[in-house]
Symmetry: D3
Subunit: 114 residues, 6 copies
Amino acid sequence: MSKIQEFRDYRSKMNEKLLNTNHKVIKRLYGIDTLTYQDSALDSKTKEMLGLVASMVLRCDDCVKYHLETCYKLGVTTEEILDIFGVANVVGGTIVIPHTRRALEYWQELSAEE
Amino acid sequence: MSKIQEFRDYRSKMNEKLLNTNHKVIKRLYGIDTLTYQDSALDSKTKEMLGLVASMVLRCDDCVKYHLETCYKLGVTTEEILDIFGVANVVGGTIVIPHTRRALEYWQELSAEE
Amino acid sequence: MSKIQEFRDYRSKMNEKLLNTNHKVIKRLYGIDTLTYQDSALDSKTKEMLGLVASMVLRCDDCVKYHLETCYKLGVTTEEILDIFGVANVVGGTIVIPHTRRALEYWQELSAEE
Amino acid sequence: MSKIQEFRDYRSKMNEKLLNTNHKVIKRLYGIDTLTYQDSALDSKTKEMLGLVASMVLRCDDCVKYHLETCYKLGVTTEEILDIFGVANVVGGTIVIPHTRRALEYWQELSAEE
Amino acid sequence: MSKIQEFRDYRSKMNEKLLNTNHKVIKRLYGIDTLTYQDSALDSKTKEMLGLVASMVLRCDDCVKYHLETCYKLGVTTEEILDIFGVANVVGGTIVIPHTRRALEYWQELSAEE
Amino acid sequence: MSKIQEFRDYRSKMNEKLLNTNHKVIKRLYGIDTLTYQDSALDSKTKEMLGLVASMVLRCDDCVKYHLETCYKLGVTTEEILDIFGVANVVGGTIVIPHTRRALEYWQELSAEE
């Protein structure tokens, strides 16, 4: 199974378990999370790029993968992704580099998937 | 003296002192910092919004102020700024709220300056 | 004006401004924030202690102040507060010490207020 | 070998190696770590819950696993654990979600172990 | 009163209050903190430089000030301090710059004090 | 394949891919990264120790591995490494312990390699 599929499966399996707990705070947070990236003053694509750069500087690999997927679906180009990597690495420093290596690998797998 | 002017003065005074040290690494980092936000695949405005959201989740008030200024100059609207605040608070959690309070205050001072 | 009053005034003034923006994500996040600390499986007092220790290790002075206030109102004792400081400093390291100094000062002002 | 056993084995093997170095600072820090979670003004169970929420917002998976184990032994219920997850996710934001997925999985494995 | 004196006074006043609580964990942590920077395999000067760079990347201004003072007393030169600033800024990114501005200012005040 | 070799291979493969993108910001950041650790006022060995402690408190395992390798090549002794671990754990707290376990394991593999 590819890295992409493995990530997606685990993520959706555990998200389902978390939501099945019916914990009010957790459910509402998931609701807000969805709302956050919908078109409003900024369009969805820009917001996903914001989510990606925020995830990178906070060095959350799974969050990075998720936003890479949504960015990919929304048509963000490789050149634009590299610009986002650039901002993340300059703002967050060289500790972001290992996450950037994994992000680039994941992005290239997404591109190869089709 | 206004909060805006105070921030600008201290920032430029100390940046000058840092660059006057002629330390190679620090000088080059300042150079990269400038390059990072210039038009490339993404335009300068989008990149400044990325810089703003990254600064917010990393909770760096001075970085937030700086990017608010550049966003303001580049015509980012208040509605767009609030969307950026939204992403930052959802990704980074309620610990970002105190920084959002200060960011909104600074943004309103920038808007009132003219 | 006391440090306590200054903090409360600024906090409520800017919270009002943030909520007056009517930004959906921000409003909902404030709603969740309130819900989070209400009695459920854990009582409100325990949850406020959790909020305090989380704020300390994340080194958010304003969040610390807020949770110190709610802990104080809910009857957390000084000995219990010190235990929370202990956990925060051991988990988060000596970089938490400066925040602990300010937290102790604020706690003592709260105690002296009556 | 189960994930639980694997974690426990690696942790105790490497803790032993670290303590065998006889480095004074490291040994003393381990001593403090033990002391921190013992009954005092707050009981051990509350302190372990504090340790858990602190570990979650700091996004340290191994620390989370450890505190989940001690919480489990001390009789923290699943409903209480979910409340702790709630505080951690609201304070720390959606970047805590991936760690919450892994934490829930580990908690369910602990529950299934008996 | 100079910034240096203000920092020293507040720090020692509040440290005394914290130690006067006689909280075992906090007292022991202060003890370890002292031990950490004493001569051992690495000499005190090198360890203080390590403490400084760690404080900078964790962006703890008060910790930075403290280690700048000890570095100053132990004869670290301005050129060496700038090298430490360089490592901190490259590893930790441009969010370290505002802390570097304040650190340079404090260092120059220390140098001017005599 | 050993853990050391696996880390080195992945790191150099992905660094090459990142540099092959010819993204100006990323390339320049890599250039600065190299410059940062070269002999200047502080020698390369001291700077690598600074890089190690910074990586540890920021809890970046891959960065830690990299600096352990360079420290090893530059003749840092095990006693000195333990002193660095000590500073990192005291400044950064017990959340650094899991990273210290992995760091010690990696260091011992480096020592066994020859």
